[in-house]
Symmetry: none
Subunit: 211 residues, 4 copies
DNA sequence: TATGAATGAGGTTTCATTCAT
DNA sequence: GATGAATGAAACCTCATTCAT
């Protein structure tokens, strides 16, 4: 049948459409304030249909998060391995690449959402920590250690340094998520500007005359 | 009368007891998942009593936030004014003082809560931005500028630098708030260690041989 | 003591002040929508004081009704007995007197209130019927019968005629009570005009040429 | 399918079933004393179902009133226009027709209910005045004026006369509504008897010897 | 498979009434 | 007696979830 194709395509796309709708609404209004029916409506289906794909609102949330984070997991670990030049350059490159992926797409707001709703979803929190935070920290931590061993970096505390690399960007995203609307806090910096300034500062320090 | 004292002392303390109970529960379970009755119960009163003091659950939340933030507002601006030595030392001093105040007491978790629940409380978000974030940024930004003018600091972009000072600490608090329970993410660093490492890094930079 | 007098006077007046406040508020907002505390406040006392005088909101209502109706009960029966002239004149006179008493003072709105709230207060309904409605009907019915026996009136059905005398005035009061506010129904007739027109019509009929 | 019918028929009938249940309970116990859940139960559905059809208890009340009054609005105006004989006969006819419609069916108790609850529903009060009271008054008033112009009636004040036509019947209904139960006031007159007696009295007057 | 009518547990809020001071 | 803080039953309403069609 000619009509079967689009209908089938439609049906196959359902789960993704529902997850997209869920993401948009959870970001906009928060998990608790979003009703299942709204999600269904935004995905163009009826309330009952949502429950054919996800057995509860909680599971919908978790599926949405996993789906949107899964893409970015276990990606960029490889490029760090076979690299040769100065670690500082690689570090800058990786931060920029990370931001290009996370900051622009869905992953960013999903991270904000996870932090925001983590108390309701302990398993999800653990998943996020295990699959997103820890790998990222290990990746960056490994780079720092390489730089130190190579004599390129000073013998800084690795964990703190990693935190100092990650936190400003994550915080900026969460800030945008929490206060971005209501024109409450007009940003004068673009994220990339922040990133560049951050990397420059971290590498060279604030002091004019290094001791 | 001797018996009058506890009664009266009790009554006068009610609002604060309710705010304390609210803070504890909102932090523990989030705003939406906390029932008014639980707040009342934790404060040792019945459901209806809560409504004698705060006309709704929303207002209770707002009052709790304002109360806990009000203490720290408009405090530390003064000490920065009449200071003479190196700005770097003052900066380190202020960050440590800020952390001692905010990181230890209630203000820290309240900030995390505000970020977490900001979408439900637009007015509160604005209040927080106007009364907490902006003043803090101005204070630190002023210091950075003084340092640059004095030739002590390099001509770094001020806004990004301020962000780089604040974000790691705030993010650490939020991280603790979101993932701290469920022993999901055992910290190996103490906040003060992080702060020291952060300040050292920011001042001297990561590179071993400054260009 | 000099201060005892006014204080005592005050206390003695309490019950009446409470009943007055209750009347005003019940008329204004209805029984269910009036809170006990409002009644107390309007009477210038605290909530608890109200309960020293009336054991419940229901009892307060009943007391208020009885108090306001008691005055008019068993009054005017006497004047009808030793009267000599035309019954028609007496009838007109009594209706006018009744209106002057009931329509102007509190009794009118209390009647409206009783009708409005009667379903909640069965005993009160019975009290009202027994002490107000039935005596009034008997009084007027007796007059009509005297008029018929004297040949002054046609042999009309007594009960219906009594109803026709009473209903228009009661209805006008209730109408005012229900729709009087909200400038929903501007009256062009004064009650006395209505009463005169009514009596004239009832006595002489509508038809130009009596058959 | 044979089984589809009752389901569907059931669903379509829901609104009306709910309105019927609401009418019965509001009449029986008053608006404030009737709980939403009772209305639902009487209609044979659960609490939540009621709210699928009417967004609040207030709206349920208003819908019920409008539904029950809408039938009678804008009906009988026509029959008055093309009539030829004596106005008195037409008047009697119309009053009897009106009573047959209003007095027997739901409209009567609904009118009583509106008067009783009018203070809580200002918009509804206005609706009732505009759509029920005023048109009725205009209709009857027009007839009276026609009769006066035709010389059939004396030059009586129109507004008062209209009031005298309407009030006794409305008052009887309200009386029944307020005191009818509790066998508090056994009626010896049937409404039709009252109506006939009323019309006779109004037309011919009470006096035996018209002056 | 998709629908959306129906459900009812669960939450917020009100307010008549009590009682220690 | 007077007060008003405290109580908790009761009412309204929401919305996640189910299930007959």
């Amino acid at each position: 049948m000619a009509t079967a194709a689009p209908r089938q395509r439609r049906k196959d796309a359902r789960p993704q459409e529902l997850l997209d709708a869920a993401l948009a609404l959870f970001v906009e209004k928060g998990f608790a304030a979003t009703r299942s029916e709204e999600v269904a409506a935004r995905a163009g289906v009826a309330k009952g249909t949502l429950y054919r794909y996800y057995p509860s609102k909680d599971e919908l949330f978790k599926a949405m998060v996993r789906e949107n984070l899964a893409v970015h997991i276990a990606e960029s670990a490889a490029q760090a391995a076979q690299y040769d030049g100065p670690i500082a350059d690689l570090l800058v490159e990786m931060m920029r690449a990370w931001w290009a992926k996370v900051g622009q797409g869905n992953a960013g707001v999903v991270c904000s959402l996870v932090m925001t709703e983590a108390r309701h979803f302990p398993e999800l929190a653990r998943f996020y920590v295990d699959e997103v935070i820890t790998p990222s920290q290990n990746l960056l931590g490994g780079l720092i250690e390489r730089g130190i061993r190579a004599g390129e970096f000073r013998a800084v505390p690795v964990e703190a340094t990693v935190h100092l690399l990650i936190a400003p960007l994550l915080h900026m995203m969460l800030h945008e998520h929490s206060f971005g609307d209501h024109d409450v806090c007009p940003h004068t910096m673009s994220p990339m500007e922040l990133l560049d300034a951050q990397m420059s500062l971290l590498l060279h320090g604030l002091l004019a005359t290094p001791s």
